[in-house]
Every structure is written in structure tokens, then in C-alpha cells.
Symmetry: C2
Subunit: 357 residues, 2 copies
């Protein structure tokens, strides 16, 4: 194995939200500096050594950024391809483009996962109203029309309970290329946060059970109450995905638990909200794990020393902070966002309890 990135080296992060912020703190813990590139407001800049505020369409700013750093990573997957081209011409990008192109497009992602032999929700490509009507005949209702690109926290999704809603659904998604997903009868959703290092080693954190509200993650509880066999399956399929993508970094895999086994809902080529529990449950959390992977360190082994329930603090949940601050078992992580808005992730609370099984 080659030497890890030298102490004091600089990591470039595309995106300056809470994920970039927590990545920056983790990088500092390993002796690295971080440089944030973010077109908008950047809570990450408060804990980073440097920051550029410029659009992803500014070649000069992008190239100056790329020349100032030793490796580039990202906190969200919808960075324009052209921006990535410019960066990659100058400095390594980790994870690689393949992971990004797969996860940027729901259809590509489904085809990639199916190609690996992994189960997904039944799906059909939808480029027109006729496509959607045809797909509804095959997949039935309820089903969900999801735009292929730029989906995030339930945006760009329309739920159909009746085939008559097809035209409205196409209108609601502006006729954008989409995928219709058939109904999956699942008992719970879990996710596994997995990492692959520069040398190809793989490490997974324990799967957590996720509860969503209004399309936004509400809580993740670890350990997920699933049979040991499913935990093994989750790790094996995450490993298959990581290897197939020649992936370097942390990847989030959302899975449905069904009576016939696990179904892959989606993958995120980055640290993931459902992995925030690791900050208070593990010696090496998902943020440090990602930094370790992209800088060539050995990975943390993913051991959990404590059980954790992570709760997102969304919008007015911030009013509960004084009470949460008094809870002896509660570790708070606020993102320093200047404005509280409904549906906006403002922070999270990790409630810790002694390790069970």
C-alpha cells in the first residue's frame, strides 16, 4: 500500500452544507486542512481552513480550487459533470466518476444494481405520458414516479394511487425523464454505511433502521432489529456495490426489509444522514472513515461501542434544543445554519444507550 496523504495536506470538498462541515472536522482530527467550494451559504466554512464562494460554472474558480488541494471529494452527488471534468484534469477525485454517474440517474442506478444481481423495486423507464400509462399497466398502483435526476429528500417524486393520475404526474414532474417504481411491501427500511479504502479493503458499520416522515429521514436506530442473516446480506451487497464501482470513500445504501429478503432502494455516493449515529457510537465515525478512505489511511473497523438513536432536528425541532441539552444521554450536533425553515435539517441528536447485542 502506498503512503497516506501527508499530514497538513489539503482536502477539497465540493459542497459546504452540514455533511461538508462534519467531514471538515473529521479531516482536522487526522491533521488535514479542508477547502470548501460552495456556490451558496456554507456552514462548513466555519470549520474549514479555506473557502471559495462561486458557481460550479466558473472555470477559473474551479481550477484555482483544484490547484490548491491534494484530493477532491464531495458532500452531494449533483455536481455538474463539466465541473468535475475540470477538477479531475488537475487533482484526484474520490469517489470516482462512475459512482457519481450511477447515482445521479435513477434509471442508470437501477440498471447497475440489477446487473449485479441485486433486488430492486420493480421499475420502468418513463419518457412520456404513453410510457407512464404503459408502465402503470405492468406495475400497477400504488406506485411512485421519480425523476431520473436531482432527486433529494422526496423532491421530484409523485405518488400515484390510480392510473387516472398519470397526466397530472407527468405535469408535476415537468415531463422530465423519470422512472416509475412499483409498490414494495416492506416491513422496515434499513441502511448500511459502507466504506472502501484506496487499497480495496472494505468496512461496514452496523445497519440502522430508518424512519421517514414526509419523505425526510426522521430517526435512525442502531442496531436495526433484523435477523443476523439479513445483517450479513446487507454487508455482502454493500461490498458487491463498492467493488463493482471501484469505489473509494463512504457509501450509503438504503434497503427495504421484505419477507423475501433485502431490496435496494437507493445508493448515495457520500456520507449519509443515516450514518450520523456513528459520531457517538464508534471510535471512527462515518466522516472520519470517508476521510481515511480518500487519503489512503487504514479504515476503522466499524465496531459499535454503544447503541444509538439518531433523530434529525428539522425546522421547528430547534425549539426542543433546550430540553435535549438537559438529557444526559443526548449528544447534540447543530449545523450553524443562519435561518430555520420548515423541512430544513438544522441539526441532529444522538441518544446513546449501553450496547445491546
Amino acid at each position: 500500500m502506498s503512503e497516506p496523504l501527508a499530514p497538513g495536506a489539503t482536502i477539497g470538498i465540493l459542497g459546504g452544507g452540514q455533511l461538508g462541515r462534519m467531514l471538515s472536522v473529521a479531516a482536522a482530527r487526522l491533521g488535514y486542512r479542508c477547502y470548501i467550494y460552495e456556490p451558496g451559504a456554507a456552514p462548513a466554512a466555519d470549520v474549514a481552513a479555506a473557502r471559495t464562494q462561486a458557481p460550479y460554472e466558473d472555470p477559473a474558480a474551479l481550477e484555482a480550487f483544484a490547484r490548491s488541494v491534494d484530493v477532491v471529494t464531495f458532500e452531494f452527488e449533483n455536481v455538474p459533470a463539466e465541473a468535475l471534468d475540470r477538477i479531475e484534469a488537475i487533482v484526484p477525485l474520490r469517489p470516482n466518476r462512475k459512482a457519481l454517474s450511477v447515482s445521479q440517474d435513477r434509471l442508470t442506478e437501477k440498471e447497475f444494481l440489477s446487473g449485479l444481481g441485486l433486488a430492486t423495486a420493480p421499475y420502468a423507464n418513463v419518457e412520456s405520458l404513453a410510457d407512464l400509462e404503459g408502465a402503470l399497466k405492468t406495475l400497477g398502483c400504488p406506485s411512485i414516479l421519480k425523476t431520473r435526476r436531482l432527486g433529494y429528500d422526496g423532491k421530484g417524486q409523485v405518488r400515484l394511487t390510480d392510473p387516472d393520475q398519470a397526466a397530472d404526474a407527468i405535469a408535476a414532474t415537468n415531463g422530465a425523464p423519470a422512472v416509475l417504481e412499483g409498490f414494495v411491501s416492506f416491513t422496515s427500511e434499513i441502511s448500511v454505511i459502507a466504506a472502501r479504502g484506496l487499497s480495496g479493503e472494505i468496512s461496514c458499520f452496523d445497519p440502522g433502521e430508518n424512519v421517514h416522515e414526509g419523505g425526510i429521514l426522521r430517526t435512525t436506530t442502531v442496531p436495526a432489529p433484523i435477523p443476523s442473516r439479513l445483517r450479513t446480506d446487507a454487508v455482502l451487497l454493500a461490498g458487491a456495490i463498492l467493488n463493482a464501482l471501484d469505489y473509494v470513500g463512504v457509501l450509503g445504501v438504503e434497503l427495504f426489509v421484505t419477507p423475501t429478503g433485502l431490496i435496494v432502494n437507493e445508493i448515495a455516493p457520500r456520507v449519509h444522514n443515516s450514518g450520523h449515529w456513528t459520531q457517538n457510537g464508534c471510535a471512527v465515525d462515518q466522516f472520519e472513515q470517508h476521510i481515511r478512505a480518500i487519503t489512503g489511511w487504514p479504515l476503522g473497523d466499524g465496531s459499535r461501542h454503544t447503541d444509538v438513536t439518531m433523530e434529525n432536528l428539522i425546522g421547528d425541532d430547534m425549539d426542543r434544543v433546550p430540553d435535549l441539552a438537559r438529557d444526559p444521554a443526548c449528544a447534540l450536533h447543530l449545523y450553524g445554519k443562519s435561518e430555520t425553515r420548515p423541512g430544513r435539517k438544522m441539526g441532529h441528536a444522538n441518544r446513546i444507550t449501553p450496547r445491546s447485542a
Copy 2:
């Protein structure tokens, strides 16, 4: 109780070393921004929103700094009094001047502690060779001559094993005002990291056992293997010190364990190296506890969820980082210092094990 400092407010920190760095990260976790004032190199600046590099003797820089922040704290206790005067005229300083003036001077500190009825090592004021010779007759040898001001990591201390060394000891300390400390027969050294909030509430972390090498802290192990009665004593005496100083923030109290009970070695009016274990042993660590105290939040209750041995990584210990990184129970905290020097604290490793008693 009044409202805590508003989210997004800025905390000024005097000193930009590793303690300031870890304070800055903790403040960010509660949604605050940090502004570092440091005359020299500042590893803390890599994780802070703003930084001034100027001497403590620069009134304009100090005042500009003070006007840009909502509260000022410090990571080391030897900030010149005049600098503090300028700052305090503009913005609250926490902890207060009394705590600083007591701990900046070993004689004042001993007199303060004795005045509270707490046991200290026997001591005598030394302003001349004659004083030292007299003190040696009373306290005997071995004993330690310590300059009253600017002691840190064993600097400014001379050990005397024979009264004939008196003249050499005065020469070695440049005749600076000093205190001669008599020998204390102790079985171990422990420290307690205690905090007092703006409203007067007090919280203590579990005492840890400290091992020093060459005058520098090597390891802290929690829980310290001491009887429950001594744990209670440690908490009670820390509380007495905090209240007597009308203290706000985290205070480190170093104690000798002797057959007749606890003796106070010294106090540090700041987060303390022997409290670094809390980063991986508690929901709220000493750095967040300090930020909570000075911003008016409720204090964390100090519960330990995990046993921890903290080991300082000093100088060439950095060569062991690759091995430590592979240890599943080990959490690394590196300080991002650009140069490794013998005796320099470069980072620390917290090795975690399941909670015992």
C-alpha cells in the same frame, strides 16, 4: 436563568493551540462560530471562522477582536493582564479574572487553596537565596523550587535533593519569585475536570488517573482506581474551588492521592489535557462543556458511557500513528501541527473499552 448566547454568535478564543482547536470544533457543534486570537502559529485557525495573528501587546488588534465577538474565553492562562483589561472593557471574559490571577501565580494559588481549607503540599515563599535556604530547613529535601509565574509542562521547576543545591537552583530560575514545595508521598495523581455554568450549576467528569513522564502528561485512565470516598472528596473540593472563584467554564484540578487523603497539586482555569478522554467517553465532552458554560447552556451531566485510556502523542510518537490507526478501539485526535519536535504534543489517542464500574 437568562437565555443562552444566540445561535450563530461568535466566541473569541485567546490562544490557537490544540485546546483552542478542540474548543472551536465543540462550539461549532452547538451552532457557534469561533474567532481565534493567537500571536504565533495557530492549528485552531484551520477549524475556526476567523483568526487574528497579532501580539497580545497590540491594543488595536485586541480591540478589533473584542468588538467582533460576543464572549471571550482562553485556552491558556498566561495572557498578559493588560490585554485582558482591554478585552474586558468591551466584552464579557469567561472564566473571570479572579480565576486567572489565582492560577497565574503559584503562591497566590497555594494561599487561595489553603484559605479554602484544602490540603496542598507544604510550601514557602522564595524571593532570595536566603529565603530558599530558610525554606529548605523547614521543608527539607527532596523538594521542588517552582517559579511563581509561567510554569507549564515542567518548565520553570528545579528539583533539589540536597540543601547545597540552593544557589544553583536560584541561578537556574534566574532569581525569579518562586515557591519551594516540600515532598509529598503520594500513591498516584488524579485529576478532576469540573465545570460551573452561568447560573451556578456544577458538573464533574469522573476523576482520571494521570501518569507523567519528564514532567509531561503521558496517559490518563478513567475510571481512576480509587475508593468511592475519594471520588466524592474530589468532586466536593472541585465544587468548593469553583464556587469560591465564582467560576464560569471548565476547570482542571490535579490532585495527589495520599494515605491521608487528597492533596491539591494545582488548578488550571481551562480545559485540560487530562480531560481529553471525555471526547470518546461522554455524550458531552470537556470542550463542549466549557462552551456550554460560557454561553449559558445547561451543562452536560458528566456521565461516562465508556472507559477510556488517553495517551498523549508526543514528538516521535507520531511514528506510531499508522499502528494506532489500525487499532479498532482507538480514536485518534491529531492537532495538525506543521512540525514534529521532541516534547511537543502532536495529538492524542483515546483507547475505549466497555464501561466497568
